[in-house]
Subunit: 405 residues, 2 copies
């Protein structure tokens, strides 16, 4: 816990990643504790492309807890923020009371200033709450010197945030207990286990605002018989199978199961009453393109998955990235010039055979995809050591640079 | 069996209706006999708006069986056509062999000429095979003097055709036997049972050709775990409930169950691998509009259902038709002038309150809906007595007027 000499200010900055589920979480059995109706499994994305950075300072001179998200002060009284703050403070006090000599007694009672930014536009429609709550909880734990299981705390901010506390391939075990103590995340394999795996995020323009995932999954649990069957019967088998195919680095099996699970999640949204639609016509066309592409090669080379919005996340292997990106460019011609259309990890150029273009047999869709973020699996949260990168100044207020991109 | 003096020609003309399921049929347990994995229930639509007309002639001078559909000769060797022809001829021979004195021995051995037209454009994307096979089987039975259970025959042409053999509210009981003898349709209530019920078909433009229902349901049965659960567990309860709410003429309950069942059918299509999409963005907007409209009034006044395509079929009560049609006009402005946009049963004009328009809170979608067919429940197949209306001439060939609309 680094302490700044000014104003008796303690300050820590950390980053945390986004994760994309391949066995989807949808539905809570306890809304307060955020306990899910099924286990889930995700890939943590590399923070070089997508991350949340959070600086938290505490000082006896702060009069109240405050939070700034992407440059704008937000209401700290939000129940989920309060859950995380209270839980970390409780753990810090418990640690002090159990006599850990390294714990700092004073800071736990101080108020905190929290400042958090994403390195990706909110408008991209990428779920940022997982990275956000993971970063909040991780940074608080660093500030207060709390160690041990943090995913049960992050889970209470946003369910899927618990999975962002680990790198690589991460499962969230649903648990059975009513107090949620056995509902936590754990790493299945690290990010270095399957280095050839690549991730492409196809950012699709949403025509309408979608139903939020909190209210959406609430309605699904209340009304969808298919969701209950999925959670009780289908997902337990899929979790086992997904862990097996990841350990075997079996891309065709991994890809097929990922697509099936995405489709089944969206099927349960449609079985919800009133129904929820997250996929739009562009999403449908991406799905169709992926299946035709795989059919052309007679094997599953690329796989899609969609969360609560129209953006596609594509999993594939490094060797197939250049051609598939060119396929996307061809069938979703963009206004952006070449360098802007693909962001993140560099992608080599590739030529498409006439045979492939003909076999895919689709009319190009103008402007359906804004841009692609090219990335891969990455590590869990990190501490940022360079004090120049703190988002809060020595006055405990956001630096000018800590406004959103 | 009317006999024409020319050429020893026997000729009969009949009409049969379209039906729209409110508990959906999707999936066969036997593809040859067309035995379904679940029971289903539909409303037979009035033939004044939607019907198939079929003339069948037989003569000893005909050299082979022939068929003309909407003015174009088609291949009679199609297995499903052959199933129906063979089955009716078998029943006719059986009747003769059991010594029915009214049966005509000779005609069964004669070849037939079949001519069939729809009074609605094929391009409207309305499933015409149900009306077509029902009409074929009914007309053959009239020609050959076959009486009794025809729905097991029509079922072998197109599953849902069995339901078009009755008017009003019709269930297709899935049966249990492997020979399909207990998989037949029966009337739940006649078309006069619920006279206030109205049907609006919103004809939506399809951007892409959809997966055909035969291959679609085959893939669903092979791949969707949710479909199996739906068929085994959900539908049996829904059949009972649907029959109960129809008998009680309980529109809110009927409408809600109809919408839920449509959504669940499309959910199982999405759970199919590769997934099948029949709903497009316009379908999604119609669904959204219906839910907002019902929410405005705090009760289910209109209900949607969608088959294997983007067209919406709306069930509502007579008293709500004018306003809801005006709502559709407002949010889906069409190029067609007023009289062309609504076809079929006349619809009174209505004004929309500013409050309603504001509460529905949708951007109008230009040209999303081509036109509306306004209709209601109607009777089953009928014999056309007027010989001027035969589609075949005395030469046994299609009259010039028997070409498609």
């Amino acid at each position: 816990m680094p302490v700044n000499s000014h104003q008796n200010l303690a300050m820590v900055t950390c980053t945390a990643p986004v994760n994309i589920a391949v066995v989807k979480y949808w539905g809570k059995r306890n809304e307060d504790l955020i306990l899910p109706i099924n286990s889930s499994l995700s890939v943590t994305l590399h923070q070089e492309q997508l991350k949340t950075t959070t600086t938290i300072a505490c000082s006896r001179s702060f009069l109240q807890d405050r939070i700034w998200l992407n440059g704008k002060e937000e209401d700290i009284s939000c129940p989920r923020l309060q859950s995380c703050l209270q839980e970390i403070r409780r753990l810090a006090r418990k640690r002090r009371n159990t006599g850990d000599p390294t714990s700092d007694i004073s800071v736990v009672s101080h108020k905190v200033h929290i400042c958090s930014v994403n390195n990706f536009p909110t408008a991209a429609g990428l779920a940022s709450s997982a990275a956000g709550y993971a970063c909040l909880v991780y940074t608080l734990s660093q500030l207060f010197g709390v160690e041990g299981e943090l995913s049960t705390v992050a889970r209470q901010g946003s369910g899927s945030a618990c999975r962002s506390l680990y790198g690589g391939f991460v499962q969230w075990k649903m648990g059975e207990r009513s107090d949620g103590k056995d509902s936590f995340a754990e790493q299945v394999e690290s990010e270095s286990y399957w280095p050839e795996l690549r991730v492409l995020i196809l950012v699709v323009s949403a025509e309408q605002k979608s139903v939020g995932s909190t209210s959406g999954m609430h309605t699904s649990v209340e009304t969808s018989q298919l969701l209950k069957y999925r959670a009780d019967v289908v997902v337990p088998c899929r979790m086992e199978e997904m862990i097996r195919v990841i350990r075997q680095r079996d891309f065709p099996a991994f890809g097929e199961l990922t697509m099936k699970d995405s489709n089944q999640f969206h099927a349960t949204c449609l079985d919800t009453y009133p129904p929820i639609f997250y996929l739009n016509n562009v999403s449908h066309r991406i799905i169709s393109l992926v299946h035709r592409y795989n059919q052309f090669y007679g094997e599953t080379r690329v796989a899609y998955t969609f969360d609560a919005g129209p953006n596609a996340v594509i999993y594939t292997l490094q060797e197939h990235v250049p051609e598939f990106v060119q396929v996307v460019r061809h069938f979703f011609p963009s206004e952006a010039n070449g360098s802007e259309f693909v962001r993140g990890l560099p992608v080599c150029s590739a030529d498409l055979s006439e045979e492939l273009k003909r076999d895919l047999n689709m009319e190009p869709t103008q402007k359906g995809i804004h841009y692609i973020i090219s990335t891969k699996a990455g590590p869990g949260p990190c501490v940022v050591e360079d004090p120049n990168l703190h988002l809060l100044g020595v006055d405990g207020l956001p630096k000018k640079s800590a406004v959103s991109d």
